[in-house]
Symmetry: C2
Subunit: 481 residues, 2 copies
């Protein structure tokens, strides 16, 4: 088929010449997301500015059976926004506007490329904010947050992204532009919004999102408690939840990370601590004062070494800065690392910590941890040095063992980051063939030709049938130079 | 095809002879749900006791292309649990056990026939409860609540049913038994739980549900404010929400219902009031006291005639009894009524109230109202007398006008009750053909032969394709007697 120049011309006619990236240098910047291993250069990058352009691009790609890979800010860590098989990457960054701030109905309609934090900044003057705040909120896009159904430190109290999405405008794999949901939360028919959130671009691409806004709480109180052991910190978490208090965040930072953060950026964490627990309360001032009054003695009962309360916004920001930049500072402590996104029911936290220690001992590799303790969502980081023979292999083994341990304890193959390329082949560990076949059928219903983000989310498992793994890329890399 | 006796024998072999209702008298008790008009006698009623039996029954029905209509307590008001075209009704009432109360992980696994209120009663001794409490909670089943994605007075603060369902075991229209979701809220893959909740039995039937339990709030405070006009009450609602307070309930009861309730059961509502606002606050005692301290002056500023605070649990129960039995007491005030389940974005409440008055004047019929004001979810009741020529017709016209008015104001064809038979033909008022076609495709994906609850949820619209409207019933009523 004489695809090349006609196809390129058609795409340029849709989005304009500046909306198509075909040079090698340009495409190279879209080679990877934040996963350690996966890479792949898209054959073309297309940057639409409207929903209609997006739909037209998808329809044009469908005609040629060319893979379409949606991408927000590329901050995902599952390889979901990469093009390992080539194809057209749909960069949604230019669609980054707030279309409507509807304060009376406590919602906003935004474009998918909008940076998460920008929305809260815009809503703040009206006294509102957007609750889902993944640690990457300064750079990640709302479209990407929706696609991975991102969590974050505050989802213990406020829920994950899907709990804050009221509606979406999407382009399906057929190139149809449809609205799912809407401003009114009670809506008839099937809740397709819930399917699309977490769909990782395998069902289509999001072109607008209606999100719920929450009233900025009257007060916020951030406490830091340090302990000599991780066990004491974990048990404090159980005791707080058991007392019926739901803090807005409950984060544990282990000894390794406390040291790394202090040496890297200096957040004022107590240096010798075996574990630090970051507790945040929000709500009416009377309520959080009362909660803090309950929490302090609970920490003391669990042998807290020190309990500190942030006295002002600057101190609070500093305590969080340590947590939010944990992943960034680790570079100075290790050559390489593998990040696992593990989750277990909260009651199994002590058990998974023990198993993790055993895996660490067996594979002779350090496993460091910062995690959303209130949710049972761990982020173990397996540290290795790829210059030492065998360490990479042992790191991969440890990673696999960790995943299986979580599943045995009733957890899931992924916590808040999604499946992408990274966990696709692990899905059969958690799901029966009938479950996978079912998901595959659903996928086909949105994307009959299997052009949307192929190879992601579902495994190359017989139960998933055909149609989701494209053949060799139609446009071998470099075809456009 | 020689179906009859072999089919009956097979079903009896699956669920036992006592699990199949074939007599006319027996089947007649399943003729209707709580909708005013729709009726239809199922050809057989089957009462499974296990998920496996349910799956086997569905597979057996599928072989004969016989319609399957799931039913919980039959308290729905949309005709969703009726068999207007005949077929096999699956009564889930015998599956009414709590399978697990997992307090450590704040969840419970229950069978679909469990009565909503029973779960909160069982969890209460551990300090937990199940938040979704439709007004019918004393009789409605959790399976039915899930199927219609029921709302209720407290969903302003706590969200609707879907926000409390973590996972489900379901039998699809293919007769496959699959688990969707699970105890861990962060789960990979497509969120099929969200699709099934609100699926109204058109995708399959629910055989187990994992629901989230919440900690019983430390305190509850119920206030009643009366006003001389409905406008004053509505504006008070806006002012409370605008002040950043989210009460657990905000219910408006209009003049007609205040009188009906007082004459019927005597809940102590001020008789002469033009509208009564029921406000409930829950949470830590300090918090609700502070909130009440804000709310009382707001009510006064909006010309409240009287503000009353329930002094104890008995007074609180009495205030709620009036609201919860509003639908029951109306019988003494009118011969007939049509209940609409309308919803608009909250900011449009004053506008829809004005339009409702205009419709009432035009059709010369009284429209009475109790509603979840905080959500913009109205329950207008159009009163008529079918012995007066033309009143039924005018009531239907008023009903239709009301629906269109809600849609024009950005609302939805249904609030918290679902679509069922009642609103199926209204879906094209809200959804474009592409949206409907999309839903139909999704439905087919779960139920390829269109046997599940045919004729419900989607309209007989060309966009919905074929396969969802069965031909004449295979078993004409009475075939089994």
């Amino acid at each position: 088929m004489p695809l090349t120049s006609e196809f390129l011309r058609d795409l340029e006619a849709i989005v304009g010449a500046r909306g198509v990236v075909s040079s090698v240098e340009g495409r190279l910047t879209y080679e990877a997301d934040m996963h350690t291993f996966y890479k792949g250069i898209p054959d073309l990058v297309v940057l639409p500015e409207t929903a209609e352009q997006t739909a037209t691009v998808v329809r044009r790609c469908r005609r040629e059976h060319v893979a379409v890979i949606p991408r927000g800010s590329g901050t995902g860590i599952i390889g979901g926004a990469t093009a390992p098989l080539g194809g057209v990457m749909l960069g949604m960054n230019r669609m980054n506007r707030i279309l409507e701030l509807d304060i009376a109905n406590r919602c906003a309609t935004v474009q998918p490329g909008l940076i998460n934090l920008w929305l809260s900044q815009a809503a703040r003057e009206h006294g509102y904010y957007f609750a889902p705040d993944p640690s990457s909120q300064m750079v990640s896009s709302i479209g990407g947050n929706c696609s991975t159904n991102a969590g974050g430190p505050h989802c213990l109290k406020y829920g994950i992204t899907v709990n804050h999405v009221l509606g979406m405008q999407v382009v399906t794999g057929e190139g149809e532009l449809v609205w799912l949901g809407g401003k009114v939360p009670e809506r008839p028919g099937y809740d397709l919004t819930g399917v699309f959130v977490g769909g990782e671009g395998t069902l289509g691409v999001v072109t607008a999102v209606i999100v719920r806004l929450l009233h900025v709480p009257e007060g916020v109180k951030t406490l830091l408690a340090s302990f000599s052991t991780l066990d004491d910190a974990s048990e404090t978490v159980s005791a707080i939840i058991g007392a019926g208090i739901v803090p807005s965040a409950l984060e544990i930072i282990d000894e390794f990370f406390v040291r790394a953060i202090e040496e890297g950026i200096g957040a004022g964490y107590p240096k010798g601590a075996g574990a630090v627990l970051l507790i945040e309360l929000d709500g009416p001032v009377e309520e959080i004062e009362a909660q803090a009054g309950h929490i302090v003695p609970i920490c003391r009962d669990h042998a807290a070494l020190e309990i500190r309360v942030a006295r002002d916004e600057a101190e609070r920001a500093l305590l969080w800065k340590g947590r939010k930049e944990a992943a960034g500072v680790v570079g100075r402590m290790t050559s390489n690392w593998l990040l696992q996104d593990a989750v277990v029911p909260r009651s199994r936290l002590p058990e998974i910590m023990r198993r993790m220690q055993a895996i660490s001992d067996r594979q002779r590799l350090r496993i460091a941890n910062v995690f959303h303790a209130g949710d049972g969502n761990l982020h173990p980081m397996i540290l290795y040095d790829d210059r030492v023979a065998g360490e990479l292999e042992r790191a991969k083994l440890a990673n696999e063992e960790l995943l299986r341990a979580c599943l045995e304890l009733g957890g899931s193959v992924t916590g808040e980051h999604g499946v992408g390329l990274d966990k696709a082949e692990s899905m059969p560990l958690q799901f029966a063939p009938a479950d996978l076949a079912f998901m595959a059928r659903l996928r086909r219903c949105f994307d009959p030709d299997g052009i949307m983000n192929p190879g992601k989310l579902l495994p190359s498992h017989p139960a998933c049938g055909e149609g989701f793994r494209p053949g060799p890329p139609r446009f071998p890399s470099g075809a456009w130079v």
